[in-house]
């Protein structure tokens, strides 16, 4: 194959949009700032200058607001972020400069094979209950049931169905299903490159009390995507696809908003 053939196939494929809309009042976790938007100049104002007019806008958002990807430096263990065992993050951060190591600008464009594991489908329900811990048994079970293989370097997406509660901020950001510590270890053992889910916090703190974010980000260098829209992929039973996410290169940032896609042939 060559570039022309790549083009022929890729541009004919079905694209699934995995990003949610950003708008004032959108659901957000209260640990992060809300989305703020305004036009800075409107068409009506600029129209006086002639028959052409233009409008422009600005907005404020948190690195972890809406559909986003966590930078490796979002979490540290013993003061170290992934890939920098000899440096203390406490000496490498500043309010206006952000993180000097592990910032989201170091995340390469993500263009990889993606796999979706649909956990509610495995359990014969639409949405997992709020107390559901996704562990190795669920992940293995879904893999087996969906007859899909996972390779090292894949992007692993895990559906809980919780996106159905998106409009209800209190419910969506409240107690929610998530990946357990053992589940995270399973993900790490599979050597996936990135992982993501349709909830706001990915994890479920289980009896080990260990934070999944620390395991995946700080210990194994596996970046996490949250608030993904996985409903259409699940409906169409597209378990394997080409996954693309292009995080903004925000220097020193702990996360970036994204609008990922899944390309299905």
């Amino acid at each position: 194959m060559n570039t022309s053939e790549l083009l022929r196939y890729m541009t004919k494929a079905v694209t699934y949009d995995l990003g949610k809309e950003f708008f004032p009042g959108m659901t957000h976790n209260r640990a992060h700032p809300t989305f703020v938007f305004s036009l800075i100049s409107s068409h009506a104002e600029s129209a006086r200058e002639g028959s052409q007019s233009s409008a422009s806008c600005f907005f404020i958002l948190g690195g972890h607001t809406g559909t986003h990807i966590d930078a490796l430096g979002h979490y540290a263990e013993h003061g170290h972020v992934f890939g920098h065992p000899d440096q203390s993050i406490f000496d490498l951060e500043g309010y206006t400069t952000g993180l000097s190591v592990g910032g989201v600008e170091r995340t390469p464009p993500v263009l990889r094979r993606g796999v979706l594991l649909d956990i509610p489908r495995l359990h014969g329900c639409e949405v997992l209950p709020a107390n559901h811990e996704i562990g190795p048994k669920d992940l293995e079970g879904a893999l087996h049931r969906q007859k899909v293989t996972m390779n090292s370097g894949d992007v692993l997406l895990i559906r809980t169905g919780w996106m159905r509660h998106w409009e209800d901020q209190i419910k969506y950001c409240g107690i929610m299903p998530g990946v357990s510590h053992e589940g995270a270890q399973w993900i790490a053992n599979r050597k996936v490159a990135f992982t993501g889910t349709d909830t706001n916090s990915f994890e479920k703190i289980d009896r080990t009390k260990k934070q999944v974010h620390v395991v995946l980000l700080a210990r194994y260098g596996i970046q996490i995507m949250e608030c993904l829209y996985l409903e259409d992929l699940a409906r169409d039973a597209r378990w394997e696809f080409i996954f693309v996410a292009l995080p903004l290169r925000i220097r020193g940032a702990t996360g970036s908003p994204i609008r990922p896609i899944a390309i299905s042939l």
């Binding site: 409008a55 600005f58 948190g62 951060e93 609008r259």
Partner: protein
């Protein structure tokens, strides 16, 4: 039976495309966002702060996390304009009603907002105009014409087809580190109106360049009516502040172009980090 065969073919195709992704070369066409980054003067500066640092003085925990927030203009840094960014005679492309009544500061544009832009996944072509002229960077008074694009096409032996993303290089991004000279220059090279008409005749789907204004800039003002021709009259969205240097250096003139604008409801533009994939 038939479905089974199709499934099999799809798997084979998927395998070969996956192989290709692994071996393909990805060019990053987005610039970094940081405090003090160059910007066009009519748009707000990029502002950033951590809202929580890792350092927690009284904490005995062995784990920590940090989080951030930022303020960004839709047209700051590498970005794509929404069709509703520009109107002609009060109308934005694809919508018959006057835009003046269909916009508001808190909610933006009711029609033509950036959330209407689909993920962009198309054949891309780079036309390197400085190369055509035998220079590194086009001079500040240079306006790119239809003839320049036509000549670049023949010199580079590349074809521009309907539905393509057409990227045009001026080389001006060389001055990125020089603040105003890049962001809001008194003079800068850019795309002329005849080049825009040429793009329209080629039926390109999107276009973009490596300056902040797209149009040529003279006395601090954009020249011509490029945005009106492309966006308001023909529905061709514009990307600005693209980093095209690596593509040009490698003479990668044909590629798979991907850009995924954020779905900012009613937004006039979105920051992006586009890529070009070459196999």
């Amino acid at each position: 039976m038939r479905v089974g065969k199709q499934e099999q073919e799809r798997e084979m195709l998927s395998d070969s495309i996956n192989q290709m992704i692994k071996k393909g070369k990805i060019y990053d066409l987005g610039k970094e966002f940081f405090m003090g980054m160059p910007r066009y003067p009519t748009h707000p500066p990029f502002m950033f702060s951590l809202i929580r640092t890792h350092k927690k003085p009284s904490s005995s925990e062995d784990t920590s996390s940090a989080a951030c927030m930022f303020t960004v203009g839709g047209h700051t840094g590498t970005h794509i304009d929404a069709l509703g960014h520009k109107s002609k005679g009060g109308r934005v492309y694809g919508h018959g009603e006057e835009i003046y009544e269909r916009q508001s500061c808190p909610f933006g544009l009711e029609v033509g907002g950036i959330e209407e832009t689909p993920p962009i996944l198309r054949r891309g072509v780079l036309l390197d105009v400085p190369r055509l002229k035998g220079c590194d960077v086009l001079p500040s008074q240079f306006s790119i014409s239809d003839t320049d694009l036509e000549l670049a096409v023949s010199k580079q032996k590349v074809e521009v087809r309907e539905g393509d993303v057409l990227l045009v290089r001026t080389g001006w991004v060389k001055y990125w580190g020089e603040g105003e000279k890049f962001g809001g220059p008194p003079e800068a090279p850019g795309i002329g109106d005849s080049a825009c008409h040429w793009m329209v005749s080629k039926k390109v789907a999107y276009t973009g360049t490596d300056t902040t204004a797209f149009s040529q800039v003279k006395n601090g003002k954009p020249v011509g009516r490029t945005h009106a021709i492309l966006m308001a009259e023909n529905g061709i969205q514009i990307m600005e502040t693209l980093f095209l240097e690596d593509l040009a250096k490698d003479e990668a003139y044909e590629f798979l172009f991907i850009a995924l604008p954020l779905k900012i409801k009613g937004g006039t533009a979105s920051p992006i980090r586009p890529i070009a994939v070459v196999y």
